[in-house]
Amino acid sequence: MSDQPVGEAAESFSVSRDEASAAFFDGTGGGALMIRNCSVCHLYLAPHITTCQQGHELQWVRSKGIGSPVSWAIDHGPAIDPRLADPQSGHSVFGIVQIEEGPWMQVPLLETNEASLRTGARWRVAFVRLGEGEQIVVFVPGGVHCRRDGLANSAG
């Protein structure tokens, strides 16, 4: 996993933390993708999930930061930030990535190419700081094939 930002600051768009997202952005600031975990149900959950379906308290845990695209779309309009756009086409790719622990993440996909933009491909987390705001999570191609049977939603 890369702990280094892959982009420089942009002034046009930034992301700010609030009380609910503080722990998440503490993580991204330190180069970690933080997700939720229910230690009773043995479930990992996406960062924006605040309650276990059974009502158990959730903890923040660090993800391995490895995943595979489930679905994606290519925005042909003006990029919200040039750091999120392909330098050649100017298009921005946004996708749903299933991380190895099980949850889905809606994230920008950077450095995309024909070989990497497919289900089953292995991607890894990276971070981009937009403007003066928080570092956000992006995913970049990880290079080797991802084992689909390794994608589980259980901590056990």
């Binding site: 959950l45 996406a46 679905s71 290519i74 925005d75 042909h76 099980g102 994608l151």
Partner: protein, 217 residues
């Protein structure tokens, strides 16, 4: 393409130029895979709907239509491998409930007025409401069933994609016109029962309404 065929019969429609699948394929991408012609436009306009009792409606100058069934579903989605996001919407829950209340099935629906903000949202609703099997909506649309003269007259004013985009009022107003026999050239042959749908959020919220030309027995 089916909606454009309907819109060409609707004097109040915004987009009436002939449209082919080739025209669609030539239109530019907005967010790939959705092209310009997969997306509804924006309209300036207004629709007013008066709700009153059956008794009072008898004295009004306009022909009343009657609610037979209504339901809403705000289903939420798992955000992991168990998710049906994009594959199944609240229509799959609200639709059967509204139809049960009305005592009808998809086979009894004469006109289908869908909330068609994108071509895709029409397709997923056709499957959710049970007008075809899962994964077969594209084939149903390609068969011409949704177009004038088809077996499932859908978005008969051209919908939001070709008619006009007044959000949930677009399908509701068209359903009322059809049930009142005020459709003019686009009047569906059978128009006793209409299904109206409404979507909100990113497929987060859904409402279904069954309207009848006569009071519900």
């Amino acid at each position: 393409v089916s909606r454009r065929q309907w819109a060409r019969l609707n004097p109040t429609a915004q987009h009436k130029d002939p449209l082919t699948l080739a025209d669609h394929q030539k239109s530019r991408y907005i967010v790939e895979p959705l092209r310009l012609l997969d997306c509804c436009g924006l309209s300036n306009g207004a629709v007013a709907v008066v709700l009153t009792t059956h008794d009072r409606s008898a004295d009004l100058p306009s022909t009343p239509v009657f609610p037979w069934g209504i339901s809403q579903a705000h289903t939420g989605y798992d955000w992991d491998v168990r998710s049906n996001f994009g594959l199944r919407t609240g229509a799959a829950v609200a639709g059967p409930k509204a139809m049960r209340m009305a005592g009808v099935t998809p086979a009894d629906i004469d006109v289908l007025e869908l909330y068609d903000c994108y071509t895709y949202t029409c397709l997923v609703q056709l499957e959710d409401y049970g007008f075809c099997e899962r994964g077969e909506a594209g084939e149903l649309a390609a068969s011409g069933a949704l177009a004038p003269g088809g077996t499932v007259p859908t978005s008969t004013g051209g919908g939001q994609l070709s008619g006009y985009c007044l959000w949930g009022m677009t399908p509701l107003a068209e359903a009322i016109s059809q049930l009142r026999s005020e459709g003019g050239e686009r009047q569906a042959a059978r128009h006793d029962v209409a299904l109206v749908s409404g979507n909100g959020g990113v497929l987060d919220f859904h409402a279904s309404l069954i309207l009848g030309r006569k009071p519900h027995e």
